[in-house]
C-alpha cells in the first residue's frame, strides 16, 4: 500500500512472487512501462503497454480507475518505480512497482508471453523489423528462412548483400569468380583495402559474418554458364541480378524462367541506373523488355565508361528492398515496371514493361526450354564484358 502518511512519497515495491499472487487473484491493473520493442519480445500476460515517455497521455486509458490496485513493471524495476511516482503525483492511490522487473520475474521461473521462433538475441536484433505491422515476427521468420542468390559480389551486389545480411536473410549465395581490386573500392563497399587480392566471395562472406552471424553465406566462386546455372540457382527463392555483362543476364533470364525463380534485376552505368523485378509468367521477363542485346560497340561497360560509386548504393539498396518485399510478401514489387534513375538530374522515371506475346522464353508460343538448349541462343556470343 502507498505510504501516503510520509512527507515524501515512497513508492511501494513488491517482489515478483507477490505480484504473481496478486495477478492470479484477479482485480489488478498490470502496466508494462517499457518500450514497444521490449514489450513485443516478452511480456507478463495481461500487461498493458504504457511506455515511460507516453505515461502522462496514455495512462488514463490503460488505468481509468485511480483507486484501483495497479502494479507496474519494466525490465529491471527502475522505470516502473519512476512511473509509479508519476502516477501517484497524478492522483493514483494504490500503485506498486515490481522490484527487479521482468528479468527477476523470469529468473524466478515465472511465465512470460514470448515471441515464438526466434532466440532472445534475434528478438532484440530484429526488433525494429518486428515492430512494423507489415513485417512482424512472421515476416522476420520468412527472412530468416529465405535463400537469396546474388549474381555478382561487386558494385550492386555489395550494398544488396550488406542490407540483406543485416535484415537477417538466412542464406545468401554469392556468385563471383573475381578478386578484390583497388579500383573496385570506390563503390563495392562490402570489401576493403586489406582485402585487395582476396576472392570477392570470400571478402563478402567475412564482412557478412561480422555483421550478422545468423546469415549462412554460400560461396560460388565461379562464372555462371550454361552447364552450371540450373544447378546453382535451383536451391534459391529469389535471384538478384547484378551481373556486369549481357550474356550472363540473358542466360540467367532463360534459366530463371524455366525454374520459375523471381529475379530482381538492376544495372548501372555512369550516372544512370535501371531496376525491374521479373516474376516468371506473372509479369514480363528480361527478354520481353530487351529482346536483343546491343552489339558490343554499343554496349559500354563500367570499366570502359566509369560509374559514379554511389549509383551502386542507390540501385543496390533498391534491389534489396525488392527482395525483402518478395520474401515477406508485402507491397508492390516492380513487376511490369522499370524504374529509371538519373543521378545527375536526381530523377526517377517509371516505365511500363509488358509481357511480349512473341517472347521466345515466356511468350504464348514458348515451349519449356530443354536443358540442352539453355545458353544455346544465337545471341549469347561474346559481348563486351565487365
Amino acid at each position: 500500500m502507498a505510504t501516503g502518511a510520509q512527507t515524501k512519497a515512497v513508492v511501494e515495491e513488491i517482489e515478483p512472487f507477490e505480484a504473481a499472487q496478486e495477478i492470479e487473484g484477479g482485480v489488478v491493473v498490470l502496466i508494462d512501462t517499457r518500450e514497444p520493442h521490449e514489450f513485443q519480445e516478452a511480456r507478463i500476460e495481461g500487461g498493458k503497454l504504457v511506455p515511460p515517455g507516453l505515461l502522462r497521455d496514455e495512462i488514463a486509458a490503460a488505468a481509468p480507475d485511480k483507486s484501483a490496485r495497479t502494479i507496474l513493471y519494466c525490465r529491471s524495476g527502475n522505470r516502473s518505480y519512476k512511473a509509479a511516482e508519476q502516477m501517484e503525483a497524478l492522483g493514483y492511490t494504490d500503485v506498486a512497482s515490481m522490484a527487479g522487473g521482468i528479468l527477476l520475474w523470469q529468473e524466478q521461473g515465472l511465465p512470460v508471453v514470448a515471441t515464438e521462433g526466434m532466440s532472445a538475441e534475434q528478438r532484440d536484433r530484429y526488433s525494429r523489423h518486428t515492430l512494423l505491422p507489415e513485417v512482424g515476427v512472421e515476416g522476420q521468420l520468412r527472412m530468416l528462412n529465405a535463400k537469396v542468390l546474388l549474381l555478382g559480389a561487386g558494385g550492386l551486389g555489395a550494398p544488396t548483400a550488406l542490407y540483406l545480411a543485416a535484415a537477417g536473410i538466412g542464406t545468401i549465395g554469392l556468385v563471383d569468380d573475381d578478386v578484390v581490386d583497388a579500383s573496385n573500392l570506390q563503390r563495392q563497399v562490402i570489401h576493403n583495402t586489406e582485402r585487395i587480392g582476396v576472392p570477392k566471395t570470400e571478402s563478402a562472406r567475412l564482412t557478412i559474418e561480422a555483421l550478422n552471424p545468423d546469415v549462412k553465406v554460400i560461396e560460388h566462386r565461379t562464372r555462371l554458364d550454361a552447364e552450371n546455372i540450373l544447378e546453382i540457382i535451383e536451391p534459391y527463392d529469389v535471384i538478384v541480378d547484378g551481373a556486369d555483362n549481357f550474356p550472363t543476364r540473358y542466360l540467367l533470364n532463360d534459366a530463371s524462367v524455366r525454374l520459375r525463380k523471381p529475379v530482381v534485376s538492376a544495372s548501372i552505368l555512369s550516372f544512370d541506373g535501371q531496376i525491374s523485378t521479373f516474376v516468371p509468367f506473372e509479369g514480363p521477363c528480361y527478354r520481353c523488355l530487351y529482346p536483343t542485346p546491343p552489339p558490343a560497340e554499343m554496349a559500354p561497360s563500367c570499366s570502359a565508361n566509369g560509374v559514379l560509386g554511389v549509383m551502386a548504393g542507390t540501385m543496390g539498396t533498391l534491389q534489396a528492398n525488392e527482395v525483402l518485399k518478395l520474401v515477406i510478401g508485402i507491397g508492390e514489387p516492380l513487376v511490369g515496371r522499370l524504374l529509371l534513375y538519373e543521378a545527375l538530374a536526381t530523377r526517377f522515371t517509371e516505365l511500363k514493361v509488358r509481357r511480349d506475346p512473341e517472347c521466345p522464353i515466356c511468350g504464348e508460343n514458348a515451349v519449356e526450354i530443354p536443358e540442352s538448349e539453355i545458353g544455346q541462343f544465337p545471341d549469347y556470343q561474346a559481348f563486351c564484358a565487365g
Partner: protein
C-alpha cells in the same frame, strides 16, 4: 514539340544534352528530328534500312511504343519520348 530524354550513354552524341526538344507528328518523325539535329545519334537508333534498332527501347511517356503503333505512334505537344538503352553494368 516533344521532349526527347537522352540516356547518359548517348549524351556524347547530343553535345551533352540530356533532353532535346524535337518536332514531329509521330515517334518516328520526332526521332528523325533528333538525328537531324544530332547526326551521331543516327547509328545508335536506326539500322541500315531505317528501322528502329531492336536493342533500342523507345517509350512515349511511360508506354513502350512497341505495344502502341511503333514509329507511327502519334505524338502530342508536350509528350515525352524516352530512349532506354539496355545496360549491363553491375
Amino acid at each position: 514539340m516533344a521532349t526527347v530524354r537522352i540516356p547518359k550513354v548517348l549524351q556524347a552524341q547530343t553535345g551533352g544534352q540530356s533532353e532535346v526538344e524535337a518536332a514531329g507528328a509521330d515517334v518516328g518523325e520526332v526521332l528523325r528530328a533528333l538525328t537531324a539535329a544530332h547526326p551521331e545519334t543516327e547509328a545508335q537508333l536506326f539500322g541500315e534500312e531505317g528501322e528502329l534498332n531492336r536493342y533500342v527501347n523507345v517509350y512515349l511517356n511511360d508506354e513502350d511504343v512497341r505495344v502502341l503503333e511503333g514509329l507511327e505512334t502519334a505524338v502530342a505537344d508536350g509528350d515525352t519520348v524516352v530512349i532506354l538503352p539496355a545496360m549491363a553494368g553491375g
